[in-house]
Symmetry: D2
Subunit: 146 residues, 4 copies
């Protein structure tokens, strides 16, 4: 499985700190923006999930900081899933600035829980199928190009 | 009616901006912290309100900025209600730093709505009574002192 | 004087609170985003100001909340200046959602200070001229249209 | 080396999200609060560092989420350094709620850079000595207890 999605984020003034650079906690938020766009592109908007009785709490987060971003920078947030989700889904994200420099990369792992019982579950079959479909479509596009 | 309450807030690093001072939007959040402490002191914790089927959305906000606050400053947040709540409640807040300088003051107006219908309502009688009781207790304390 | 500028903001998930709506403090931040776009459009990017030795601290803020915004909403942030800046500048902002509903409106007053001494000053003549030029250009465009 | 420090953080309303729990990005900010208290306790307040011409940018962050925290929770933030800092310093943090449940744990790696050149450096000898002194003092206390 390899599904990728991209979105843009403009750095806002209040996201910068005393050093004039984006506070490191905000990239975790940018990851989330990228992830929501990813889910939207796949066909699973976060609001839809709730209708399936599913929530996706964050299990863990990691991030490495490379080039600082500054107010007004237009960041390219590239999110991808490389492993079929099971009990969990791993979303990898790379963030680049307008010069193409890698600003930050990281991984967020999310679980699946039933929204009523709040108990963990494997990804429901119909949701997994959405991911698989997105993966097949991407492969089809790739083959057409070649 | 005159009910007053006080709490302390320590300025956190990420709340400051490039100028090294607390970003002005954060005082609106400090107002909220003060307001929650106020409601707690009155005997109406925000979570209790929900049990009464009531929510208190913010209707308007105003703030004036006097002395900038910086990381590590210990702020004294003084909230008070001077008018009996009806369709709305007005909470006035003054924020001082550890030197006694007025940092920021402002007013937040909140409405009362039914949490199920989301329609406006006057403050329910039993909640109003909680405010009146807090007011009477304060007056009693004042008279004892004199 | 009447200068107006517009920008778009997409509501991010972490900007919403337990009620599922944008936390009221975030509109103060959206005002700032709108204001920065306004200054950019006028020809005075916030970073430029610093080169003139000028900073613009926020003196006061007021906001009224009308329709709640939710995650994914695309907000139209319209900022305008209707009075020639002197010791202060008043920026009015209206925020609309994608349905054209007024979400929030407000006013932010900023002062001018020397960045080295941090003392108040009137707007420097060369900066005022930038505002006047923007105003003249807008009037010229209006006359052309008529 | 083993130096530990502790601080308390009360969860604020606006730090919670639609699910009613603290947004995961905020723990990264709590880590920072804990870290600043740690540095203060060691004898190296973040503002002091700047006087030494040193800044400590965040190089990487990781966090695992265990029990969700909610508004009003009083969190115990325990930070520790177990390895002598060299080119980098690793700060481990555990966050517990008032019931003693582990809410979140993680590690933040910071580098040392010269604040003028912004180039990386090893920790200056006089700063390293501050850490060593804190470590010796802790060992002395431990031996007294035994």
């Amino acid at each position: 499985m390899y599904i990728q999605s991209e979105t843009q984020i403009e750095v806002r003034y209040y996201e910068t700190d005393q050093m004039g650079i984006v506070h490191h906690s905000n990239y975790i938020r940018y990851f989330e923006c990228g992830r929501h766009q990813f889910l939207l592109d796949v066909g699973l908007p976060i609001m839809e999930l709730e209708k399936h009785g599913i929530m996706m709490p964050v299990v863990s987060v990691s991030a490495r900081y490379h080039t600082p971003a500054r107010m007004g920078d237009i960041l390219r947030v590239v999110s991808r899933v490389e492993k079929e989700p099971m009990a969990r889904i791993e979303v990898l994200t790379d963030i680049y600035n307008q010069n193409g420099d890698l600003v930050c990369d990281g991984m967020v792992v999310l679980g699946f829980i039933h929204s009523d019982t709040r108990r963990p579950t494997r990804i429901p079959a119909e949701l997994l199928e959405v991911f698989r479909k997105a993966d097949r479509e991407r492969q089809a596009v790739l083959q057409e190009i070649q």
